[in-house]
């Protein structure tokens, strides 16, 4: 999940009777499954929640380029290098659609960058973990994109039209990325003992952070209840996490890997796996900025922005000059 713990500004979910007529009509449209479009009336809290969620999602795509980009120059074959380049290019493209979707809510991309760089806006906790081996690139595709898909498939039915539509294309590409990640690992586990050990090590390090991507249990969260009432969110964090574990464990078995959870056990009654609790203390530390790579990731994004100022200013100045030449040229010719 690329958006974690998104706040909604409210302290409780209002009933239809508590709402003014305008808001009631809005809520009834949502309940009827209609899409909300940019120029239509919406509660300010709905707009703000979407800006938080979509921008957090966009920032995650952009910051997510860094851990994978870390291995492009070291990809082991030309084909793997090309696939990874194409993947990272897709992620940047996802960032672009998502920033555009958020812009329809009245915020500019530059303002969103400012919020990212100042630390006000967050990005997914997962990208603050380091990519230490080539197997990590496979693990990110398999587990991280896999977890993201769990959340993003229902987002295709989100009540806000531009976000839902952006998600349709993003989901197609993410599914492709997940298969590519799995393919990297499937090849490695059939390789040398050192390669197989590399894959197990990657699973050991990425398993728990992947489960944390869904966020802590939100059954008692007023923010989640409100997001669900608005049909921005469709499933609880625990539901999605369960679905992810149930899907992923058999794949780990197929690869001949051991999931690093001693409590993991098939539960016949519920038709799913029982599994252990992630280390939420670590999760909150990472969210608070104390993960291994927080400073580097954010530092790299700030540096890219600051170092690129002259470039963006140069393009703007040229556009202004070209415009001035266009407007003065006919007069000069007369």
């Amino acid at each position: 999940m690329y958006a974690q713990m998104v706040k909604t500004d409210g302290t409780r979910v209002k009933s239809l009777d508590d709402m003014e007529p305008e808001e009631r009509a809005f809520q009834q449209r949502i309940e009827a499954g209609q899409k909300i479009e940019p120029k239509e009336w919406m509660p300010e809290a709905y707009r703000k929640t979407l800006v938080r969620q979509i921008s957090q999602h966009a920032h995650s795509e952009i910051v997510g380029q860094l851990p994978e980009g870390n291995w492009i120059t070291r990809a082991p074959t030309l084909e793997r290098k090309a696939i990874l380049l194409a993947k990272v290019q897709d992620e940047a493209g996802h960032g672009l659609y998502l920033y555009c979707a958020a812009e329809t809510l009245g915020i500019s991309r530059d303002e969103m960058y400012e919020q990212l760089h100042s630390g006000k806006a967050k990005y997914s906790s997962i990208f603050n973990y380091p990519t230490l081996s080539w197997a990590d690139i496979g693990a990110i595709g398999w587990l991280v994109d896999g977890a993201a898909i769990m959340n993003q498939v229902p987002l295709q039915r989100c009540s806000y039209g531009p976000y839902a539509r952006a998600m349709v294309r993003i989901c197609k590409e993410e599914s492709f990325h997940q298969r590519q990640g799995f393919d990297i690992l499937a090849k490695m586990v059939k390789g040398t003992p050192a390669q197989k050990a590399m894959v197990q090590d990657a699973l050991d390090r990425w398993w728990w952070p992947s489960l944390m991507m869904f966020g802590p249990s939100d059954d008692a969260s007023v923010h989640s209840a409100q997001s669900m009432a608005w049909k921005i969110k469709q499933n609880s964090n625990d539901e999605l996490r369960q679905k992810f574990v149930d899907q992923t464990v058999p794949q780990a078995d197929y690869l001949g890997l051991t999931v690093p959870d001693p409590e993991l056990k098939w539960n016949e009654t519920k038709g799913g796996y029982d599994f252990g609790e992630p280390d939420w203390k670590e999760f909150f530390e990472v969210i608070a900025g104390n993960g291994l790579c927080n400073a580097e990731r954010l530092g790299a994004r700030r540096k890219a922005w600051d170092d690129g100022a002259w470039f963006r200013e140069g393009l703007l100045a040229h556009a202004a000059k070209a415009e001035a030449r266009r407007t003065t040229a006919p007069a000069a010719a007369e």
């Binding site: 380029q65 120059t73 074959t77 194409a86 920033y99 540096k303 890219a304 002259w310 140069g314």
Partner: protein, 259 residues
């Protein structure tokens, strides 16, 4: 497939030429991919990854054919990952460090302008395998040149700061452009057989594109003074060893592994 006969008869000079084409694409693609996630605008991250991707694709074709022509069973990957620096045949220009974004763009433009001219000429190569690769690559490189040319003009004729940076990049990189147009005896043999254009013959068309672009960008074209050379015969700068140390790490550290 039989090796196209050349005056030397054994394909050695053709192998040499194909490595030059493949290595230029590989090393420049590598340099561009170093930018991933660090470009000054999201659109530039996407464009650089796209250009790098095209170049890596071209590398697979050129080095794949090189291996075939050599006839010793080496694949494109073997050539990319298991040769040492002295066996690489790229020009020095493409191994120049990225520097600021202006230097990366200027290096790209100076190379793209040459790359398109040679690929257009290679489309009518007497060896159909070469003509086919050139046909495909020329379409991609036409876009690379459109983009790099456009940015050179905008930044050259942008702010005083962007102009200064672009002029500095041009002055620094200019001495690395001469090598693109210096032929050796192998080039002469292949040119005589109608397989490649003589490197010297490409200079006029390159000068035209570069001259027009720099004029529009309000940049001053440096004088053609001393030019660095060596890459085409395997004598590289100190940067090359580090590029390969990074690029070839997994293949070198795990020699029997497949990926």
């Amino acid at each position: 497939m039989s090796v196209t006969p050349t005056p030397s008869g054994d394909g050695t000079v053709l192998f040499e030429f194909l490595q030059r084409m493949g290595d230029n694409a590989l090393i420049l693609g590598h340099r561009l991919s170093e930018w991933c996630g660090h470009a000054p605008a999201l659109e530039e991250d996407i464009a650089l990854a796209n250009t790098a991707l095209d170049l890596i694709g071209q590398t697979q074709l050129w080095l794949g054919l090189a291996g075939e022509v050599e006839g010793k069973g080496r694949t494109a990957d073997n050539l990319a990952y298991l040769r040492d620096a002295t066996e690489f045949r790229n020009v020095l220009l493409v191994e120049r460090p990225n520097g600021d974004f202006g230097k990366t763009l200027m290096r790209q433009f100076l190379f793209d302008a040459w790359h398109l001219v040679i690929l257009q000429a290679l489309r009518s190569a007497a060896d159909k395998r070469i003509a086919d690769i050139a046909e495909k690559a020329a379409k991609e490189v036409a876009y690379h040149l459109d983009r790099s040319r456009d940015l050179i003009v905008r930044l050259g004729d942008g702010t005083a700061e962007s102009h200064r940076r672009m002029q500095e990049a041009l002055d620094e990189l200019w001495p690395y452009t001469g090598e693109l147009f210096i032929g050796d005896t192998g080039d002469a043999e292949l040119a005589a057989a109608g397989i490649i254009p003589a490197p010297e013959s490409l200079k006029g068309a390159w000068d035209d594109v570069v001259g027009e672009t720099l004029a529009e960008a309000t940049l001053k074209k440096p004088a053609d003074g001393y030019m660095h050379k060596g890459g085409k015969r395997g004598v590289h700068t100190e940067h090359m060893g580090f590029i390969l140390a990074e690029m070839q790490f997994l293949q070198r550290a795990y020699p029997c592994a497949t990926w």
